[in-house]
């Protein structure tokens, strides 16, 4: 039965306008990037960006894919890191968040504090780097690239909020009276209702891995283990450095159109994420349809 709410009409109108404005503002620069990546390099340098590509050329993309082995390997590694990091990370984060959400766990506040403490204090980059290279000897391995970001205290605390929000105490209590142990409660009661939480945390985790270049920069010793973002980022840095170095360089630097390559980089790196994004989206963009005019 349709319920018409007259007072809601101005709300819906304003809502539509505001959302439209924000959406356009957000997409506009992205469109500029895409059209820039298809524009000829010289035009970009002279005239700057615009919404529509001028002198359309795929030169930038050709440069990036010039050695297809390189970029395919980088894509492969990126998928690997994202998969490992998100799957394992999500598991560990959820387990930890479950523990600290249990009101009957005596040490839950202390553990929360210890986890949060790591965001405030840190020893800096050098001890962290030395931990992985000198103490653990993981330099050059793929482990060093995906392990350091497995958990973040922000995601643990976020997940805890989701768990306390979506799992009613009464259900857990009755399950315990029935004799269920924590293992069963976790798998049968908590996880099934944790959809939005898992999707959100999973998304953040995956995005963090997908976009990371820093760990590849610090820990890789061969281009085989490079992540996609680093592969692209380094390509641009190489050209810039070669130009500015006071050395005799035989690389013909005129071949590399840096401006458009930077833009094409952004498109190439983001593409796969935008494809997989709609799948995750449905978990957290369900709407409140009661009270709205349907249709």
């Amino acid at each position: 039965m349709k319920i018409r709410d007259r007072s809601a009409v101005p709300f819906h109108v304003i809502k539509a306008i505001l959302l439209a404005i924000l959406s356009v503002l957000c997409v506009l620069p992205f469109i500029m990037i895409i059209s820039g990546s298809l524009t000829d390099n010289y035009t970009i340098l002279k005239e700057g960006f615009s919404l529509f590509p001028r002198n359309i050329t795929a030169e930038a993309y050709r440069t990036i894919f010039r050695s297809p082995d390189g970029i395919l390997q980088a894509y492969k590694m990126n998928f690997y890191y994202t998969f490992m990091g998100t799957a394992l990370g999500l598991l560990v984060i959820t387990l930890t968040a479950y523990v600290i959400s249990r009101k009957d766990f005596k040490y839950r506040n202390k553990v929360s504090f210890l986890i949060y403490f790591t965001t405030i204090f840190g020893g800096g980059m050098i001890p962290w780097y030395m931990m992985y290279t000198n103490v653990l000897g993981l330099r050059g391995t793929t482990l060093a690239i995906w392990f350091p970001a497995l958990m973040s205290s922000f995601l643990v605390i976020l997940m805890r909020t989701f768990i306390t929000g979506s799992v009613p105490d009464a259900v857990v209590e009755s399950a315990k009276i029935d004799g269920a142990g924590h293992w069963i409660i976790f798998w049968r009661i908590v996880l099934p209702v944790l959809g939005p939480g898992l999707a959100t945390v999973g998304l953040f985790q995956a995005l963090g891995y997908w976009n990371d270049w820093y760990r590849s920069s610090m820990f890789s010793t061969s281009s085989e283990t490079w992540s996609l973002q680093f592969y692209l980022y380094d390509m641009v840095n190489s050209t810039l450095a070669m130009r500015q170095m006071a050395q005799n360089v035989s690389l013909n630097t005129a071949d590399l159109p840096t401006q458009t390559v930077k833009l094409a980089m952004a498109v190439v790196a983001t593409g796969p994420v935008l494809l997989f994004y709609p799948f995750v989206q449905r978990y957290f963009v369900s709407g409140i349809t009661i009270g709205a005019v349907k249709g």
Binding site: T96, P127, M131, T161, F162, G287
Partner: protein, 498 residues
Amino acid sequence: MNPSMTAAGRAAARAGRSGDRRKLAAMGLCALVILICFVPAFPWIRAVNTEALYGTMGLKASVAKKLSPDHSVLTFLSFVETSKQGILGFWSFLLLIVSAAAIILILAAGVTYAIRNRIAEGKGMLRACSFFQKGMIFSLAAAAGTAGLTIFANSHYGMTGFAAGWPVYAAGAAGACGYLVSKRIEKQEMILCREHGFIEEFRRNWVLFLFLVPCFVFFLINNYLPMTGIYFAFTQFNFRDHLFASPFVGFKNFEFLVRSEILHLTQNTILYNIVFIVIGNILQIFFAILISHVANKRMRKISQTMIFMPYFVSYVILRVLVFNMFEYEVGLVNNFITSMGMERIDFYNTPEYWPWLITAFFLWKNIGYGMVVYLATITGISTEYYEAAQIDGANIYQQIRYITVPLLKPTFIILLLYALGGIMKGQFELFYQLVGNNGTLFNATDIFDTYVYRITTTQPLSMGMGTAAGLFQSLFGFLVIMITNLCIKRRNPEYALF
């Protein structure tokens, strides 16, 4: 059966309270002894065979004359500094921290004991006991640590150069005794308060401990062990002595923080952060609610994706975009303005515009990303609430105000708290890329992180200064978060971070 569960057990415990007086007196004595031991007047560590020792250290006669052979925990560090024996620095630093912790805990125990009757649920005694116990353990650790230090130092110099003074033994003994005595009292109190100790907790919830193992391993490797690097903030690094043996210089690395326009930087950093956090979250909530009310499923998803997209624009590219927009001659904005007949605006040389511009770009980039959390929470709100409200005749504004917003409050508070901890740390990439090296804009846009970055890049051996700056930011954020968390815990413990 656990004694705290039976009435008989509790009665026995209550009876035991009368014999407490002697035990409490013993504990008090131990605490007093330990506190006395730490007083700087007494020799915690002594340098013996000073002539030979100073000779091995390579100290000049003028310097050696100034050094006294007896040191308390505090003055030992200055001894390390003056004699330039960096290798002892790390041990002494740890020792200082442990000793300070011991003193604080004992004092806390005393205070809690004094106000024990005012603490709810009769747990005052228990709390005091637990503080006391921890204090005893730290004292024991300090004593043991000192013993270890003397052994290490003696083996390093190849001679008996250091010896633990009598306070070490006294503190160690008192710590052990105090611990044992307090254990008895604690057991009693636990029965009365229906609490249980670690072993009991483990027995009940060992699965939970198992769940926590990966977490412990990860944070230990990734965060807690590298935290020892904080020590570098107090050293002057050089390659010959390497990391843990570089000379200890006390607070010298922090001096630059005081000299620089620290107040101005702090003000900038905090103000920007507050604006970002508050306005950012409000807008995220606002748009999350708006999106959740879009009827058409496809439109909902599409608009949400579009708003999310700025997240993918890296700051490096953003810089180029912004320059293209605001450049004086051919920037998009200026072209637009001149086509309307107005004068060009020189954005890049006028600091006043930039707080607005930077805030705008921060919001643009982060609204989509932050909105996801709120959207997910809204998804979790049961539709029954809205149906019931509608039947009661609530219009849409009322529904939002009385159902949606309150249910988003916990999430908002958690995110707010979390962000507050990082209040002295800034969005480095954002500021660095948009402003770059343009000195005219520094007054309005320089934050802590960019300032420290400029210093550390012009002076390559400044690891000490960088760590010192980081430590300052951390301490500041720590204070803020502890106070805020405490306040929130008072009002509503559900919302607190820990």
